[in-house]
Amino acid sequence: MKPTEPPTTADTLTTDPLTTGTAPPASTPPPADTPPWPELVSAALLGAERRTPPTAGRGGPTGAAGLLDAAALSTVRRRAALRPAPAGERPRRAPDDPRPPLPPAARRRLSLLLADRGGTGGSRRGTAPDLTELLPQWLTAAGEHGYRAPEALLPALLDAARGRTDLRPAALALAGPRARWLARLNDDWKFALRGIGGDPGAAGADTAENPEALQRLWDEGLFAERIAVLAALRRRTPDAGRELLSRTWQAERAEDRLMFLDALRQGLSPADEAFLEQALSDRSRNVRATAAELLSALPGSALATRMAVRARSCVALDRTATPSASDAPAAPSTPTIVVEAPHECDAGMQRDGVVAKAPSGRGERSWWFGQLVEAAPLGGWAERFGGREPAAITALPVADGRRTELHDAWCRAAVRQRDAPWARALLGTPAAPLQGAETGAGGSSRDPAKLLAVLPEPERAQWVAEFIAAHGLADAFRMLGVCAVPWAEPLGGAVVDALDIARDAGSYPWSFSGVMGLAERCLDPAAADRLEMLTAVTDEPEGASPGSGGYWSEAFQRLVGTLRLRATMHAELAASARLVAPSGADRLSGAATGAAG
């Protein structure tokens, strides 16, 4: 900067007595000396009437007017002579992100999706799509294509992930190393460094290639960082994760042991058995229970074998018994399952995770029995029942009205052991699901959605489609939630048909808002053309709720709009994958094309 600045207009305006009528010269030499600025400020604060300003006696106006003249001059001169500040410490460079950038259309889409955060979200009215619900899907799809997020949108992306934990894994993976660099500068975004939610892109991945850093983070890190390290390691090399944990196991606090143990669920294998067996003697009851649960999910484990022996001793097949005198007089020789619940919960059972104290309202023998069957390997029952298939076993009558109790326990076991044949048998047919549940209306705890989750995806969609065709949408919400996105046919068609039927029945669309919301996110966009026909406002059927026709039309328009938008979204991401650098896409192309539909 110039140490002495040239004369400014302010000089001409203030130092020249304008009222005298002389034209201001083109350049006036600066006045000899203007009082320092702080002096002027304090004089102005006090006022000219209390203290004579430092500008007095210099010619020109005096008092208040002189003070203003001097202040004007000083202000303009100081502003014109501003100097640069010394630079602070520059941040270190962010690491490079080699992934390809988003194609322009996809970039604009992301910016729109992020701008809509929290705006109109949650409203189930109107015809416009709810963008908030599309963001997670967009993020997942973009991640599958292997893009990196545009730098300019990182702040908005981090803010979105801050507000919604469900977005974090996908958002942070897309945001990549630049976002973690940024998060170090802003306390609001510290979550991005913690790697909560099993984010493979965060803390865990940074240290993955570096065993020393990993060990250091495990030894010195915060709890959340350590969980992230363990989870990341379990995903890649489960054995290394277990060994890392077992080295410090004795020194961990009980709450931490519980969470660490829970992390072993990922990549659980027979190799973990010894460690888990030892955890059965843990000081903490919750740790013991979790260890037992994990072991029972390993059908070949010693614990599972012990439980099988216990459970089998309680269940027998009586080939001569008549289920009940009136029930089946024609088939006196129908084999019947007889249940004899255990009489005590001994120390061995308790060590294997059986909780001795029953919840109130539950008989304790029945309670113990349920836990034994739940933890016993399902594969062992065939032998007990003369080599029958699961479907045949579940079809057997059960004596003394204990069918519900036994089947409930089997359901829990099928879910825990992810045993598809048993889950299929217990689910029954979609037209008449969960046989036995209705006979034991008193407190069946079976959840078809959980059993469905054990089945292969195409079978799941088929089963739910048939269920909806038979029973409508009323109970389908949770089942739909476990089906793969986008819904495979015939599931999509079944949902659309059921919505059409619901409209014809004359109820309001918001009675189905849950399913509608799911359909927006999960229906195959190709269904839009079929739905288009339903957007017309129809005559309301007899006895329909007033105005329902219009609301249905609106709801269908919105559904169509959302589906079309989803199709566009995927096209924006996928079409460009062919155009841009193949570097990031190679590895992911399989997944990308799979998700693009």
């Binding site: 009222t19 202040a71 300019a152």
Partner: protein, 449 residues
């Protein structure tokens, strides 16, 4: 290019949105679902949008203006329907088919063309008053009123300095508003705005006496300038007149007798909208490729009056600009455009020292300038601690500029940091006594902050 005329890009359309909410709402309507009778042709786009009501809204856009019309009651301009329709059009596809406008659209377009024709042909009749003498008398009366207002304001300022700034602490607000109202009566809106500003400085955080004295002194300078305007050189007198609130007709600048339009390839550096509740305003900064000169295009809008034109950063206009007269011309009127706007390059810029020098140099001519537009090249954002102390530093060397505190409550500074990633970037903004207010950053396509 096609038979429909120049098809816009999606970015161009999005840049028209008056705010983020309209942008989002428009984006939602950018699917074919709600639209019927949509078409485009001969520089216009039209369509009917089915909303919740029975009657669909009718939206028409004249892309040459651009100008918008929609039958919806929205006060946003352009409304979400117009934006949605334009986005649909910009996206390509067959949802917006080429064709002839239907009657409802054609009527509006015809009325608009007629009006345009009148404006173009008749820009001379309106400024030339029927009775030059009467107009002269009116101008003289207004000058007298402003002189009286300025004299009164001078007295008010001297009284304040006489009794001391401390005496205004707390009690000053009402009386400043009163004085501002007096300046409005005196037909000096420029003075009125400055007086209102004074009222908001009192007791407004640390150092307020110094800031109040600065603004009082600059107001005093302006009063004195106007009272002695006959003795000022013409450019400075024009600056003073503008600052006091006397406006110049843009039409006269472009077509008047002494009009001196500057033709150049003008790169749009920034488009920044603000809305103080009463008036929406848009500032578009331009930089001439050949002349290297900066220009500022100001436009005002309100209910049903669009902010025009819409020029997203990064476009280059081969156009004529006419600067408003002044000692340091910056504001300009947009004249004839010689070619359609096209994407432009990243502008050349300067370092921190040169930016401050540019502001200082501009102040020599117009002491009331709060800032001067500059493009900074190769600067690194240094994030502050707890939101304070943000700087832009030269890539090497020790010079840095603090960021203007006004940008600290906006997310833009984090975008600046994200795009930089610790590496030097090009930033455009206003460099002034409060610091640097970033408006656009290049990544290398322009990103508005």
């Amino acid at each position: 290019m096609n038979s429909q005329g120049e098809r816009w890009t999606t970015d161009q359309v999005l840049a028209l949105a008056p705010d983020e909410a309209s942008r989002t709402a428009g984006g939602k309507l950018a699917g074919p679902g709600p639209w019927s009778d949509a078409g485009a042709g001969d520089g216009a786009v039209w369509g009917r949008c089915t909303g919740r009501g029975k009657t669909p809204y009718q939206a028409v856009i004249d892309t040459k203006g651009p100008a918008f019309s929609c039958s919806c009651p929205s006060r946003k301009f352009p409304c979400k329907h117009a934006l949605g329709l334009l986005l649909l059009w910009a996206g390509g596809g067959d949802a917006v088919a080429a064709g002839e406008p239907p009657q409802w659209a054609a009527e509006w377009l015809a009325a608009r063309q007629q009006r345009d024709g009148r404006d173009a042909a008749g820009s001379t009749p309106s400024p030339a008053p029927a009775e030059p003498e009467a107009a002269g008398r009116r101008a003289e009366r207004r000058t007298q009123r402003i002189r009286a207002g300025a004299t009164e304001l001078e007295q008010r300022l001297e009284d304040l300095l006489h009794s001391g700034l401390a005496s205004t602490d707390g009690a000053g607000y009402g009386s400043w508003d009163e004085t501002a109202a007096r300046m409005v009566d005196a037909q000096a809106p420029g003075l009125a705005a400055r007086v209102r500003e004074l009222g908001s400085i009192v007791a407004s955080g640390p150092d307020w006496p110094a800031r109040l004295l600065e603004e009082c002194a600059l107001l005093h300078l302006l009063d004195q300038g106007f009272l002695g305007i006959d003795h000022l050189p013409a450019p400075l007198a024009a600056t003073v007149r503008t600052r006091v609130g006397l406006t110049t007709e843009p039409a006269a600048l472009l077509t008047g007798l002494d009009a001196t339009p500057v033709r150049d390839r003008w790169l749009v550096l920034a488009q920044h909208d603000s809305d103080d509740g009463r008036l929406a305003s848009r500032r578009i900064y331009l930089r001439g490729d050949r002349t290297g000169r900066m220009a500022l295009h100001l436009s005002y809008g309100g209910a049903h009056r669009p902010l025009e034109p819409a020029l997203p950063p990064g476009l280059v206009l081969d156009a004529e600009l006419a600067y408003y007269p002044g000692a340091r011309p910056l504001r300009a009127a947009l004249g004839k455009r010689h070619a359609p706007a096209a994407p432009g390059p990243v502008p050349p810029g300067c370092g921190i020292d040169a930016a401050l020098a540019a502001y200082g140099d501009a102040l020599r001519h117009d002491p009331w300038l709060d800032s001067w537009p500059v493009v900074l090249t190769d600067v690194t954002p240094i994030p502050g601690v707890d939101g304070e102390g943000w700087q832009l530093a030269d890539a090497d060397g020790e010079s840095a500029l603090p960021l203007d505190p006004r940008c600290l409550d906006r997310p833009g500074r984090w975008q600046l940091a994200a795009i930089s990633g610790g590496a030097p970037i090009t930033v455009f903004g206003e460099c002034g006594h409060r610091g640097f207010l970033p408006l656009t950053v290049w990544d290398p396509s322009p990103v508005s902050l």
